[in-house]
């Protein structure tokens, strides 16, 4: 029996299943969070009908998308039309497999890393996979045999090639400081508080911002969402797609968002490390946060205006309090705290993604191109040169 649990294949399959299930749920709920945040920015409630505060809306959306008529227009190039969404979602999910969520943990007899696999070229792997993701969008635009789709596909491939350059240069700078390409070692080189993170300790503020900007463009998000600009291109490259094929593109976009956010955290923000060492009490922060929100929910539940909230607010408040208590158990702290910090940092960056979508208008296409080639690329280059010089002088 022990041999079974210890075997590499068994552990990997279990990890793959867990990560897949969690990721799929996260993708569905990220959509809910996005709609909620944008709604609140625009002073409206957002999804509200399905479940308390629209919490079951993602479930309804999934059912809706699955049961919709799956239409294949007669004039499309069938092979590539069907291949495109598959390609997009595969490449988007593939890059999650090298992202480490936390340190090595001990579950019963098995000791394993909270990561599918650690490649010694992990960073390059993610770059390679994300550069293959362009084909999904470009092919979708071309195979649809629709002018709007084609324009969307062309825009997206030009945009992704252009922004990949500053992105790679921005990634190279923290790699120089950490002196590794493995994502796990990258985090280990930044342990011990926020002053060791590449953002602060390595003074990589410029490359961090270049990375984030390029990440927006790579994931086709506002203000760089020209491939799907509604008011000029109907829906861009996915105009002709319906039902689950449309959902595949949607899921790919959100999965890519999660990947780049996780990459930003791993490269610049110290991965799963707490902002300051646990000797100074960083392990008490997560339970305090949950305690605070639990109490807020209980307080609001007491004087709720709506009938439902009288039940749901205290229920969620109690759940939060239980979570706060779980964080205080020393046995689970070893893996729960790193996971919390990783998810908190990734979530913060994802929130910025949504925040900016609610705030900024779209770029014009020529602005988009001149911005990356005339500003972002030279700045990234300069930053890399200066970083290389500093690293060379320091290690001498």
């Amino acid at each position: 029996m022990d041999a079974l649990f210890d075997s590499f294949i068994f552990v990997t399959i279990v990890k793959a299943l867990v990560i897949f299930a969690v990721l799929m749920t996260t993708l569905a709920y990220l959509q809910w969070v996005e709609r909620k945040v944008i709604a609140h920015v625009q002073v409206r409630p957002g999804p509200y009908r399905v479940g308390p505060h629209g919490l079951l809306q993602p479930l309804a959306d999934v059912v809706k998308l699955i049961t919709k008529e799956d239409l294949v227009p007669p004039y499309v190039n069938k092979v590539f039309y069907l291949m495109a969404p598959f390609l997009a979602i595969t490449m988007a999910l593939l890059s999650i497999s090298v992202i480490p969520f936390g340190p090595a943990i001990q579950i019963g007899p098995v000791r394993t890393w909270m990561q599918m696999t650690d490649l010694n070229i992990g960073v390059l792997f993610i770059l390679a996979v994300s550069s293959m993701g362009v084909y999904g969008i470009a092919l979708a635009g071309w195979a649809s045999n629709n002018k709007y789709s084609l324009l969307g596909g062309l825009r997206s491939s030009a945009q992704m090639i252009s922004y990949e350059l500053p992105m790679s240069l921005a990634i190279a700078a923290p790699l120089l400081i950490s002196n590794t390409l493995s994502l796990r070692e990258l985090v280990e080189s930044q342990t011990g508080g926020f002053w060791h993170w590449n953002l602060v300790g390595g003074a990589q503020v410029i490359s961090f911002f270049i990375f984030i900007i390029a990440a927006f463009a790579e994931t086709n998000r506002v203000p760089f969402d020209l491939p799907e600009a509604e008011n000029e291109l109907v829906a861009g490259f996915h105009t002709e797609y319906s039902s689950m094929k449309f959902a595949a593109f949607f899921m790919a976009e959100y999965a890519n968002m999660i990947t780049v956010s996780a990459m930003a955290v791993l490269l610049f923000l110290g991965g799963w490390d707490a902002p300051w060492p646990s000797e100074y009490g960083s392990s008490f922060l997560p339970p305090l946060i949950f305690l605070f929100f639990g109490l807020v929910l209980l307080y609001h539940g007491k004087q709720a205006v709506r009938k439902w909230d009288k039940i749901t607010f205290p229920a969620f408040g109690a759940i939060f309090l239980v979570i706060a208590l779980i964080f205080l158990i020393p046995m689970v702290q070893g893996w729960l705290l790193p996971l919390f910090w990783f998810l908190a940092k990734t979530g913060a960056i994802l929130f910025v993604f949504i925040w900016i979508r609610a705030t900024l208008p779209r770029f014009r296409y020529d602005q988009l191109m001149s911005f990356t080639w005339k500003f972002l690329f030279p700045v990234a280059m300069l930053n890399l040169l200066v970083t290389a010089l500093v690293v060379a002088l320091r290690t001498k």
Binding site: L124, L127, W142, L154
Partner: protein
């Protein structure tokens, strides 16, 4: 396991390479070429040259081929029409192809026939080794190549400028 993987991806590479020539539509050919690049990357990985494998995917499959596909889409190139082939070409083509393949196989066999390939046995494929080799042993070829690329870029811009003015 290694042998099975090698056979599968070598087969994919060969079939995709033939497909590049056989397909009449440029997009299909370009995507078959992507398939060739991808399976070559897997073969590099099997030999233990992980950096070259990653570079192969990033540079060739990810950047060069995306540009190819982009240009094909932009020009909206249609499928080739089949022209009548001459009788001579059909008669000579197949034997000449077989003769060429036989010659190539013979020369490869005579040059590298005694060496055995060990899967994962390649040393010096890590990013560190390759960086060191590029900037010490092969510094001159490396710099000359970058100069060549610069000349190509300048040439492309000059050619494009003429059209615009």
């Amino acid at each position: 396991m290694d042998v099975i993987l090698f056979l599968v991806f070598a087969l994919i590479a060969v079939v995709a390479a033939i497909n590049v020539v056989v397909q009449t539509h440029p997009i299909s050919s370009a995507l078959s070429l992507v398939g060739v690049m991808g399976s070559l990357a897997v073969l590099y990985l099997l030999l233990g040259a992980e950096f070259i494998a990653a570079a192969q995917v990033i540079v060739y499959a990810g950047a060069v081929m995306v540009l190819f596909v982009f240009v094909i889409m932009l020009l909206n190139a249609g499928a080739e029409s089949k022209k009548g082939r001459s009788y001579m070409v059909q008669l000579l083509g197949v034997p000449l192809l077989i003769a060429f393949l036989g010659l190539a196989a013979f020369f490869v066999q005579s040059m590298y026939g005694k060496e055995t390939v060990v899967f994962g046995g390649f040393q010096g494929g890590s990013p560190r080794d390759i960086g060191k080799a590029l900037f010490t042993t092969y510094l001159l070829p490396f710099e000359v190549t970058s100069l060549l690329i610069l000349i190509a870029i300048v040439g492309a811009i000059v050619l494009a400028r003429k059209e615009i003015d």
